[in-house]
Each structure stands twice: as structure tokens, then as C-alpha cells.
Amino acid sequence: MANLEEQERWLRLEPLFHQAVMLDAVERDAFLDSKCAGDEVLRRELAILLASSDRTLGQLQEPIRQAVDGLTGIAAGQSIGPYRVLRLLGEGGMGRVYLAVRADEQYRQQVAIKMMQAGRMAPYNLLARFRAERQILADLNHPNIARLLDGGITPEGVPYIVMEYVEGVPIHAYCRDHHLPIAERLRIFRDVCSAVDYAHRHLVVHRDLKPANILVTKDGVPKLLDFGIAKMLAQGPISGENAPTQSFERLLTPEYASPEQVLGQPVTTVTDVYSLGSLLYQLLCGTPPFVLDTRNPLEGARLICEVMPQPPSAETAVHPEEAPPDAALVKGDLDRIVLMALRKEPQRRYASAARLSEDVAAWIQGYPIEARAATWTYVTRRYVGRHRWAVTGAVLFVMTLIVFSAAMGYFKRRADHQETIASQQASYLAGMFRAANPEAARGRNITARELLDIGAQRIEHDNATDSEVRAALLYNIGVSYRSLGYYSEAFGIARQAYDIQSKLYGAQSPRAAEALRLLASSYRDAEKFENAEPLFRRLLQIRQTASGPNSIPLEDAYADLGECLYLENQNTEAETMLRAALAIDQQHQSATGFKVRSYLALIIERRDSFPEAAQLLSESVEIARRYEGVDSPNYAISLHNLGSAQIDAGNLAQAEATLREVLKIRIKVLGNDHPDTAYTLNNLAFVLLEKGDWASAMPFATKALEICRKSLGEKHHMTGTTTGNVGRALEAKGNYREADAKYDQALGVLRVSDGPNSLAVSRMLDYKAQLQFDQGHYGEAESLWRQSLDLRRNIDAKSTYVALSLIGMGESRVFQHDAASAVPMLREALELRRIHYAATHPLVIAAKVRLGEALWVANSGEQAESVLRDALHLAETAPYPLFPWQMAEVKSALGACLKSRGRRGEGTQLLADSRAELTNDPRPIFRISADTRYRR
């Protein structure tokens, strides 16, 4: 018991404490001096109290939390599977999250482990379902999604998942703390949208998007947590008995819940769009759309389901410190965007996170936004309202979005008088999705591919469907196949659509033309140019008569044919077509303008017209960025082309940077296994090989090959080409035998895919020749180069490829001590390259070096010196710096030449410089070449 003295002191102390607490430090001292004069104990105790008066309660409560942890949960040091728990990170409605490290690995990766509240999961087949979900989530690989790393079930039966540990702050706190203006907030928001959209395309719905689940790292990168996890917690598929209030209570943060969640209706991708709307609302004005009283769930449910929130611009003053500094800009279109995302009826919101993001991008760029296009929304609403089919779950709905949005685009154009067809098609689609019901598929995950196959199959065996509807369906399924990269399926389906449309409306009709374009494009994408070209010509003919002289359809037709011709290397006619398209585009700036400029630039650039090419290319990149955003496939295409142009210009360093950017976008947008991703990987590998960096090239080449095999087949041109590049990487590494095997394999593929006399085959012969040459087999090398030369002369005697073979042959001759006969070959090669490239182009310089070497060995020392000095001068003044190995070649050739002509000092110096350039080259053949090459 406290003694009387203590009691008395406490009574005196309390009022003094409350007075002193209001004072600042200096005043406090004076206050204590005056009030506690003579009572040192009182003064000391008061000082102690004041010292801790500013501390928060949190620390005092910590031991309580720890004890509860110990009693009921997991404490630090305990293990969950192979992970050792470090501490509790937080606690939410779904369970607790711990910070842990993987204990049995060499690297100590920090992870976040989420212990599920198993009681909240559907009892039905709990564990199997948990495992299946986990697999889907593990496949999500996106820079803005915290990765799911692992998962399991504790011996007590509590499921847990292991996620990437993200160090960051919730998105709204980040925006507030950094006083971010609207534009910056929107940038982060669009990253979030891109992550959500990515997940949707992988058939995963988040269901619980809210600021607390979106952390922003110190670098400003948002990361979404808990993807799809909410779904694991939801009730099983048979959930009719959920009363609204139950659903409401189930949600941890009803502020961000959608009406359909509150009502216990199916949750779809558009549910996430709603939550994104709530998030955007809060980012723009600092407060969520609804602030609910948790003690009155029914009123909360009513608000969410029935009351439209105030526009965000009306709420910016509620928490001004949370609102952006330029909040005045919210009024108007941003209000409309947010409110469109927050519409009560799912089908009236943005159809996808991508669409929402695009509208935000349009606002940023000052373009008209979709949220204003009321007529179209009205049409959709009316349409969907009449066909509310039973979509049982998120998986189905995502698929509906892929095919259905294509269908909707189609209906939009014809909505006025085609409602019957539209509704028939819709019920057909509904049937298709019912057939793909996961329960019917015994719990497997339905892929987009499988769903399309089901659709295609059904329509082939379905005679009851009206042929007009059939054609529309076939067309849409074809579009989906093509967009997923399944070209052979696409042109099979597109041809059927085309046949029906031609029969119904005539071959010249716009509808038939549309199907024709899909068919031709699918052929072109599959690189079946011989099939594609005549179809594109027919399409152009139709459009020339049926569409206006300056119409976009006509521009498209010119552009399509031009693109196809370019890909077939028919550059002259391709240029004519593309210039026709460009002329139309300059009148009204359509979105396809970027493609026209890209290809035109590539053609012009081959004629050595770098300034015009560069101008067109930067225009095309800019158009794609503006019209479609940096995440769009078309932006990637234009950048990809810029990369190709940079390769051709000899600017490999810039090309590498560009291609890496393209790769990043393609992986993000198209995924890891899309053929387009393989193209970029392949080109990147090519650039790195040219650079001499085989170690970096190898993984890109292997990955490209893997994708091509899988998605294009063993016999595809690209599979052959990428096999060759893997061979080149192996060769550079010094694995000659394996490399040769790859070249033979590639030759086998390309002889079939491209024909025995094709350019592709000749390139592989080059690789084989170079391999023989590097091993000192100059005779074999020469004969292989002779074969490639013959093929190339037959195709185009003036092409740069001919120069390549000539240089190889000439060099082989030099090494077989027949320099005299090599000189004319190398002269021809140099002249050919000068036709196509600028004087400072690395390929021209390389040809000069070879010629100089041959002249020197052939005892024409004076000529040799002049050619080589010229080469060095060009190399030193080239607009794009040469790679070390290229520079080393020039210097060692000139050095050796000068030394033999009696200028030992200058020659020795150049040779030393050359060796220095090569010290870091990873390729064995290059490390020795500078010394051995000129020892003769």
C-alpha cells in the first residue's frame, strides 16, 4: 500500500502535471522551479511524468499484444514451414501477417506470411481449393503486384501464404505525405490499374482493393498486396443463403465494397473497377466516397447500394491535408471518370481496369474521355439489362470480358438495327461460358484458349444458330484467337466468317471486308505472306471503291498492304502503299498513323536516309504513346521498330536500351509466352551478340527459343532463327560443337519453313562458315560462304547480304594465303555496303578493314595503309561509338600494317591499344585474335 506521504504527493502532483503539460520545455523548468520549491521528490516525480507525457499508448500496449500472441498465435522465433518468424507485422480481418525469413536457404529473403483465418473459408474441399488458388496467384508476375512466393498449411490446419515483403506506406498516406499533385497521383493510380488489369487477364479478381492493400515503396512504385486472397476467404460457389448484412459484416472495410459485394451477388472484374473508383475518389479528394458508421450496417449497405456519392470535387475540403494541392482541377471530367467507375450497376461501369486507366490517361493528355459518351453506355445498359445471365464466378466473367468486349465493339457499330442478332449472339456466348463452368470442368482452371476452343467447337456443330449470328460470333472468336497469338486457329475461323459474310452481303460489302481483313492479318501475323498479300490487295480494291478517298478504312487498307509488302522485303511497292496511307493520315491523324510511319521509316532508313527515318520513327513512338499509353502493345511495336532502326543505323548501344524497354512492356502487357515477346527477346539477343556480350545474350536467346517452340511450333521460321542465335551464343562462349549442332538444327527448320534457297538458310550457312573459320578450317569456311553467296546472288545481287558472304569468302582466301584473289571480292563487298549504309556505319568500316588487310597481305602495302588509315579515321568520327572489339580490329590491322612498313613506333602503339580494347571481351576467340591474326 502506498503510504500517506505518497498519496498526498500524488494529489498535489496531478493538477501541477496538467498545468505543466501545456507549457514548452523552457517554461516547464521555470514552472517546476516555482511550484516545487523545497520539495525535490515532487519535482523529480513531476519531471519524470512530463518526460514521458508525449509518448503514445502503443508501446505500453505492446506487451499485451505479445502475451495475446503467445496465448493464441505465433511468436517470434517460431517456424512456419521453412520460415522463421521475426515479428508480427499487422492484423486484419483475414488473419495476421508476420515478417519472417526463409531459414533453410543460403540467402535470407525477408517475406510476409499471412496466416489465414481458416474459419472464414468455405468448409467444402478447403485445402484442395486453397492449393489451386495458390497456384493461380503464384503465376501472377507483375512489377506492381507483391509476388506470392509460397504457401502451405500448418500442422494445426491453418493455411498460410508467403508473399514478397513490401516496405512501403499505404497509397493515400504516400500521396498525402509527399503532397503529390494530381498528375503524380494519377500516374501511381494507373500503375495500380495496370496491375489489376494484368491480374484480370490472368483470371484473378482482387475483391478487396483498398488503400491499406496498396503500398507505395520509397521509389514511388505501388505494389498490390493480397491479390485474389479475398476470394479464398469468400464462401463457396453455392452461396445463395448469404443475407446482405452477413456479407456486409464479412468485409473488413465496407467503405471500399461494391454494391454487388454488399448484396452477395457474383463478384467480377468490374467489382475491382468499382474499388479502383473508390480509390481514385480518395486520391483525388482525400476522403473515401462513403464514410460509414460500422454500428449501423444496414444503413451502410443502403448507402452503398442506393446512394451516389458526391462528386470528389465537392469533397476536397473535408480533409484538405489529404487532398492534392491542385484539387481545383478535379471538377469536371475527373469527377465523371470517378463516378462512372462507381456506378451501382456493374455493367454501366468501365468494362475493365484498362478502360478506366485509358480514360485517366486521356484526361492527362487532354483528350475526350469515355465517361462522357453517354449514348454508348446507354446502349450497353439497355442491352445487358435484358440478358442477365447466370455468370457464376469471376473466372467466367473475365472470359466474358475478353470475348464479350470484342462482341460489344461489334454491336456498338450496329446497335441501331441489329439488336436481334446481338441478343442471339449474347445468349450463345452465355451458353459457351456455361459449358466452361469450372464445376463442369471438375475444378480445373479454364484457360482463355480452352474457352475459345469450346466456343469454336460449339459453333461448328450448331446448325440452329442463324448464319448472321454465326458469322458475327466466328469473327469475334477469330479476333480473340488472333489477339492471343493463336494464328492458325484464327485464320481457320476468320475464313468461315468471311465466307458467310460474303454469301450474305456480297464479297464487296463492308462486313465481308472486315472479316477479310481479320483473315489476312492472321496470315500476316503467322508470316504466311504468300496467303496474306493477295487478300490485302483484294481488301484495298474493295476499300478503294467502297470507302471515301480520304477515309480511315482506306488508310488502313494501304497500311496493311504496305506492312505486308515490307515484311516480304518488297520495299519499293511497300513504300508507295505506306506513303499513300501517310498522305491520308496527315489529313486527320488516325491512331494507325504510328504504324504507317514506323514501317515507312524502316524502309527509308535502308536507303540511308537517316534524318527522315528518325523523324518518322519518333513521330510514330509519340503517336502511340499519346493515343494508347506506354502500356499499350502498339507503343511496344513502335519502340520495337525504333530498336530495329537503331540496329540498322549501327547504333547498337541505343538499340539495346530501346529493346530492353520494349521487353519490359511486352512482358508486362503480353506476358512471358507471347510470340511478340519472343521477337523482342530474339532481337535483344542479336544486339548483345553483335556487341560481343554473349553471357547476357544467352538467357534471352534461350527464352526466345523456348517461347517460339511452344507458341509457334518446332517448324516455324522464328524457331529456326532463334535456334541459330542460341548457337551463336554457344559459339561465342567457345562451345563449338554444340553451336554447330544448333546451326544444323536451325538449317533443318529453315529449309522447310523458308525454303531451301531462302535468305534465312543463307544466314545459317554464314554462321556455320564463321564457326569453321574460327576453328582454323578456312577451306570449309570458304565453301560454306560460297554456298550462301550463291543463294544470295540469286535473290538480289545488290543486297547487303551478298556483301556479307563476299567478306567471309575473301577472308577465308586471305587465310589460305591467296590474298590477291580476295581483294576484288572485298572491294565489291565494300561498294555494296556503301550503297546501303553511311560511310561511318560499322559495317562499312569493317569491310574497309578486311580490304586493307587483304591488300597488306597481298603486298600492296601503300594502298593497304591508306585504306586502313581511312577506316580508323571513320571509326573515330562515327556518330555512334564503335564497340571495343570493333575498334580493336581497326587498330590492330593498321598497327600490323604500319609495323611492317617500317613505322614500328606508331604500329606497336596501335597494337598495344588494340589489345587493351580487348582485355574485357568475354569471347575466347576475340581475346586471342588480335595477337595471332597478324603474327604472320
Binding site: W10, H18, I48, S52, Q59, L60, P63, L71, R96, G119
Partner: protein
């Protein structure tokens, strides 16, 4: 509704009106219930546990108090449960301390822990002792801490239970907090 539950409700109502006997009978009931809940959680018998002191108390309330209990009874139950919760947790902390010593691990005393880091690192037993000290000087302030920390009550509810205004409660809490920090800080130890 079982008779046991009804009796808890009755006891609550009686104890609230000042019936000390009712309070004495109530405490062990609540204590048992909380212990049982905690034990179930520990053995993983009941999946889907909600994991905080507040949740435990809430859970006990749902199990023990019948639906016809009034709002005042609810507050009162929480007040009782907060007291009980404190005992449960302190008991647990003590048993953990014994387990540690028993298994040969070195016992970390309060002084050691404070010497290690600049941050306050306290255990529940020290907190409990500091709260006892506070109760000797000023029972109500200790009760505020107990209601809010162990009972998980909001300031408003705690003020209701103690029949004081929220403003008064905040003032007293400020002093209580400072007192506890003072008692637990290295200088004092």
C-alpha cells in the same frame, strides 16, 4: 439460451447495481470462459480465431451473455472481462517466464532488457506491477488503463462505465500513461 448464460446475465445486472456477491460469482465464470477460449486457440481446436484481447473478450461476451442483456450490462461485462483478461494474460506471461527458466534459457530481467536498447522494452509482468502501483495511488486511473488496454474499450465506453466525461477520461489517461512510462523507464528501474 442455456441457463448458465442467463445466470451470467443476471449476475451482471446484480453486480452492476452494487451486489458484491454477484461480482464475486461472476469473476471466476468469466475467467474460466476466457481461459477456455485461449486454450482452444492455443491447441488450434478452433480454426478461424480472432486474435486480439478485444476479440477474446468480445467472444467471451457473445458466449456468456444472453441476448436480452442491455447495453449497460454489455459495458459492465467488458469492465469485468478487462480485469479478468489482465489476470489471464499476466498468468500466461508468468508461465512463459518459468518455461524459459526451466528450459535453461537465461531469464531476461527488466533491467537487462532496458540496458540493451534505447527503446523501452517491457514485459507484461512489469506493466502489471506498475499498474498495481498506480492503483494504490489512484484506482480510477488504473481502471481506465485496464478497460482500454485489456478490455479493448473505446474511450467513450470507458467513460460511460466510470460515469465520467470523456474529457476527464483523456486527462486522467494522460497522467496514467505518463506514470506508467515513468515507472517502466530505465531511470526509475
Amino acid at each position: 439460451m442455456s441457463t448458465a448464460n442467463e445466470s451470467v446475465t443476471e449476475l451482471l445486472q446484480l453486480s452492476r447495481t452494487g451486489d458484491l456477491q454477484a461480482m464475486e460469482r461472476l469473476l471466476p465464470l468469466v475467467y474460466d470462459q476466457l481461459r477456455r477460449l485461449a486454450n482452444h486457440l492455443m491447441r488450434g481446436e478452433r480454426q478461424g480465431h480472432t486474435l486480439s484481447a478485444t476479440a477474446l473478450v468480445h467472444e467471451a461476451y457473445l458466449r456468456m451473455v444472453s441476448g436480452n442483456a442491455g447495453w449497460q450490462d454489455r459495458l459492465h461485462f467488458y469492465a469485468v472481462a478487462a480485469r479478468v483478461m489482465r489476470h489471464v494474460l499476466v498468468d500466461y506471461a508468468r508461465s512463459q517466464g518459468r518455461k524459459k527458466r526451466g528450459s535453461g534459457a537465461e531469464r531476461v530481467t527488466l533491467d537487462d532488457a532496458l540496458a540493451v536498447g534505447p527503446e523501452l522494452s517491457l514485459d507484461l509482468i512489469s506493466l502489471d506491477m506498475a499498474m498495481q502501483k498506480l492503483a494504490e495511488l489512484d484506482a480510477r486511473k488504473c481502471q481506465i488503463v485496464e478497460l482500454m488496454f485489456f478490455g479493448g474499450m473505446t474511450a467513450e465506453d470507458a467513460a460511460q462505465v466510470l460515469a465520467i466525461s470523456p474529457a476527464t477520461l483523456f486527462r486522467e489517461l494522460k497522467l496514467a500513461k505518463a506514470f506508467l512510462y515513468g515507472k517502466l523507464s530505465p531511470a526509475e528501474a
